[in-house]
Symmetry: D2
Subunit: 396 residues, 4 copies
């Protein structure tokens, strides 16, 4: 079967490879979502009398068959088909004949792709959210186990004042709570149904967009067809940014722990499974997992950068450039979920070395307290500060 837009022109194979990219691979994740969106669309067409009840029923059955095949790993999208949308329509035409050709009424590939992506993002964000909650729980348990242990707090990477693993752990719990607030709003902003906006200028048919939105569980209809297309890169960048707020935390957690795990500190004991050896140095237990956790934040930021950069200086409406935002969003979601899972494992297994922490609590950490002792005796803070500073210089 030919592609949706094929009108009989021969396409050079090289050009085909260039344009298809790896959509046909990525799109396995979208088959389910395109099918349920197409089912809702069939209902809409039925209501608009563009499909008879029986036709709608047959199409929905065909779509359910595809879902069943896909679950069994038996629904193939060929490189020639380019994406899941063509493959699904092809299947319907193959199995239902003429009737299959009716499903693409009153929509375009543009809104079809958008709808499937939004449904997919919604489920992925739910998974992110549930991992986020799990992680907070795990971090709270870590704090319960080790929170009372003091260690030196650093500023400018210099010993500053006493800290504790409760203070350290809660720093990230609070951050993850703020991340949740952002994630909720981003999810809400994305929770609008583009189905029925067609190519970006609506369709010259009366269809019930509200019905489709409800059937698919969207909170609202995205009314404006131009905005539906314009929001593509915009929502993608926003979604990735909200993920990067979490990976930024992982970047910092990893940076802290890689330092605290150095032999010069050893405030923490990493789980053995988080370390690997060296191919040349027999003594090494390298914190590879943490280094990768630190590094993967930058991959997520690169995804955000890619999406923003792609869509700059383009006019309104669909441009093919937008196709390329799909992969970075999927990649950012995958990385963030992976990092969340690894972070849960980390906090379940991370141990604090109380002895080494204790030994690191050297006197200079208490200089501020000593200054405040003077303050309590009535010395203005600035004078107390200078007095302690001088006494420290004499000591050293």
């Amino acid at each position: 079967m030919s592609k949706l837009w094929d009108k009989g022109l021969a396409l050079n194979q090289q050009i085909e490879a260039f344009t298809v990219g790896n959509d046909y691979l990525l799109d396995q994740s979208l088959v389910y979502y395109d099918c349920i969106a197409s089912k809702a669309h069939a209902s809409v067409l039925e209501k608009a009398a563009l499909l008879s009840p029986d036709e709608a029923q047959q199409i929905k059955q065909g779509l359910d068959d595809i879902i069943a095949l896909q679950i069994k790993g038996e629904f193939e999208i060929t490189s020639e088909q380019e994406d899941c949308h063509t493959a699904i329509e092809a299947y319907l035409i193959e199995t239902l004949g003429e009737l299959g050709k009716k499903i693409h009424t009153a929509r375009s590939r543009n809104d079809q792709v958008l709808t499937a992506q939004r449904l997919y993002y919604r489920d992925q964000l739910k998974e992110v959210e549930s991992l986020r909650v799990k992680l907070i729980e795990t971090m709270a348990q870590f704090v319960e186990r080790f929170g009372q242990i003091s260690y030196p707090g650093y500023t400018h990477m210099q010993k500053a004042m006493p800290s504790s693993f409760a203070m350290w752990g809660w720093a990230f719990i609070e951050s993850m709570e703020d991340n949740g607030m952002l994630l909720a709003t981003v999810s809400k902003i994305l929770d609008q149904s583009p189905l029925g906006t067609a190519a970006g200028y609506g369709v010259p048919l009366e269809i019930d967009r509200e019905m489709a939105a409800q059937e698919l569980g969207f909170a609202r209809v995205q009314q404006n067809p131009i905005y539906a297309q314009n929001s593509r890169g915009k929502f993608d960048a926003l979604l990735i940014h909200s993920l990067s707020a979490m990976t930024a935390d992982f970047n910092k957690i990893a940076s802290d722990l890689i330092l605290f795990n150095m032999s010069e500190f050893k405030f923490v004991k990493l789980p053995d499974e988080f370390c690997t050896g060296s191919s040349i140095m027999p003594q090494k237990k390298n914190p590879d997992v943490l280094e990768l956790m630190r590094a993967k934040h930058h991959l997520v930021k690169a995804c955000e950068f890619e999406v923003s950069s792609l869509t700059g200086n383009l006019i309104s409406g669909y441009n093919r450039d937008l196709q390329l935002t799909k992969e970075p969003v999927m990649k950012a979601l995958k990385i963030t979920q992976d990092c969340l899972e690894i972070a849960v494992l980390l906090f379940q297994n991370l141990e604090v070395n109380e002895d080494r922490c204790q030994k690191a609590m050297s006197p200079e950490l208490y200089a501020t307290e000593r200054a405040y002792d003077l303050v309590r005796q009535g010395v203005p803070f600035r004078d107390a500060y200078i007095q302690i500073a001088h006494s420290l210089e004499e000591d050293s």
Copy 2:
């Protein structure tokens, strides 16, 4: 008077220039906010009996004097003082003597800077919000005036289907409404008081942080001192991202209008004030203002990039690197507000050229409608589509 941290070490001038940067210029915007934060801090110190009621009163009066001076443009921050915080404390010591040395009790420059910035951001975001509302209003009026005019909708920069200036204008109104949802959440996330977290590990004194937060109008206290510091780059990046959602819209509006203003289109008539001439070509009326509106979005994204990049791979707690996030946030706020204002002027003065729009409504824009006419007669969409496609090829 010496800098807050000066302990008598000589500092090479070259190094001083390197470290100070232009904070002493930027900080004029923060003087007011540091003063009101310091007033709230004086109340806290009074409650903690670290200042007598009379002392607190004198300090507050001194701070009010500074505010008054600043309004008159007479409060100077010298390059040697480095920032407004040193200048303010210096003024208090100069005018109040020993008493002035007490205001820095129970805080550090780290939380002091953060508090002033957050208060400043809050006011700036309110200004953004009010401009956003004004812009939506202005766009709605534009749509009222010109919305009924049709023009060709483009996909792939090719004539696609009929659009209208109502559809075009509402695309950006809807987008600006979503931007408002994001802005509200970002404002809420930032609305927490860091005052009292000191250098990032709290202070060894009992102080009423809740009281300071209330006096300053913060919705809540940012409890964790480490998070207060860690949130610096994080909140900054988030804030800029929420601004960039708006400048992305301006980028698109400008891209559309620059195209629509070309002599080949002339769908719109830009206000004369939005155009400039060429130094060599007498005929030119260039859409410079729109080109700059398009371009400035990239400056905002660069600010976001800068903040994210700065803070990657750093351990928890304050690092001096964070000082450099101040300028990009201020810059992004300024650009966004400027663009919002220019966008208001634009929509107040933009006109649509109905005649040229009408002429551009060529037959191919109605191909989809013709296909749907066939669909209404019972032809499956795919077949209708192919039939129209062939008839168009014969025409051309």
Copy 3:
């Protein structure tokens, strides 16, 4: 067989998936290069009497066998092996027994990976260079065919002065020549052998690094072992930047042609193979290939951003984060080569529509010439300019 660094610790599967990534897939491209580098290393070990002549011979034979297998698509790298380096050593141990365990003498996986990558980059850059030359040739032929046709030159996206397709084509030929100058220097900077720098601090054995460099065709030895590791992200970012100079040109070529191909212009006729249809609009021939060519530049920039961002704020020496620079470099090379090939096809098949160009040469394009006519009669340029400007305003 266990991984190079495996010392018997059990590794949670989830963590393994997280750390391995898709190196085992990417590394198929590196098998050949690791084998020839290992052959050179065997020669070095033989010279250092760490292998007997016969042992060196056997190892080289084993490596040749691997190359032969790989060419036939029969050399497998399993996910458990993680990368090609482990797989190759495993094969040698499996087939040569104890002897296989000797090849990793006097090197580390760090310099081994770097060497294979550099050899791979060198071949890839040669391919880029040969495509660049081919493209210049093709563009010159395009100019020969269509160069004499005039079209309106634009500034500020407004008709400015007469241009021609010779001027347009040569703009990109000159740019591609400058790109060649950059590419040559980047290739030269990268052309240094890291083999023998081991983990980043050398090896406590006398080995002839010069010999390895010569056998592998490197121009010089990268002397400093720390620099060998530090140069990893640095060279990668530089390489990608030099590629992005080319994709930036493609971005501009595509942007120009997408505009010139609009029905409002039609200065050019794109080859049919470069266009696709719409799933809803029967009339459309969309310039998808050019849109993707435009878009892919941003993917390359994102790769550069990713590499730079990854390596910021890290201390000297190998950090596992650096592993993640491999994929973006490979991706950027692939995209650039693809775009070069597509650009060749484009210029081979692109046609100029002389008739439409002619019709677009409206009088305002000659305003500057008219001003210069006055200049030749002695009128100062500024006065001539104002005179023509006024006459144009009266006309319009």
Copy 4:
């Protein structure tokens, strides 16, 4: 005097502020270069008989007067004039009357700006180059003083193998040498004269562009007028990238030294002038200068990002967006030069703490050497490695 392009249209003040930006401030750096370029242009006009010898002489004298004024700080560019080019032409008209109006013959502001910028960049890059050479010299002297001292080499931020300050210092010397190779090529690519390309489509007059190029010391003429404009963002991004190769080194030097300066290491002693205190903690000597050196790399990368992002998806020829590339290039040059100067000061004053380095040379650093001792006795490397690994586990 009115702006170059002013044709009598009133410009809303708000819009003027938006479009002018701070060019009138930045342009003080360009006055000299615009004057010498204009002098060369006067020679060209004289040769083309568009100026008489006497006229050319008067104009050149006027330009010399401006240079003299500027040196004394007395050449003002007002915000209304927008940039140095208008201010210079205004001065000539004011002092020379009608004659002043002739200098803008056969050029446009587009090539005028480009020429002044390239001349400015050339001088700035020479300054960068001379600082680079000075730094290498200083680093070599540092190595002479402290190179023989061993310290632990780290991989994965774990003690790996013995290193030395010679190895460390030379890592950056080699890198700075490679940076020089890149810088030289970038300088060469930029060394072409755009003067005479006018607005981007040449001028309809015979002028001797070669003569202008020679008089200004350019290596060659940039032939193609479209390329002259297109190269603007391209060369800017390339220039900044070549600077960022240096600031990336400073980022790493600073990251290393901040770690090595921690009390847990104290391998180095920073000069007192490089450290500042804390406003709350009397004991602190923070490595602020190094933190800012680390941070400023990201500002340079943000400048590169800004320039690349600005120019994406724009068509050929001048677009006003390009005006905004001036500031990031100037900023990146300033930061890089500042960092080079600070780096020279750093290596002049940095000391190594031999005693602390010695104490840090713990036994595990020699594990690889112990394995190689076994290798020399004939044990295959892999077996030697495992043997030492086991013995270390028993020890610990």
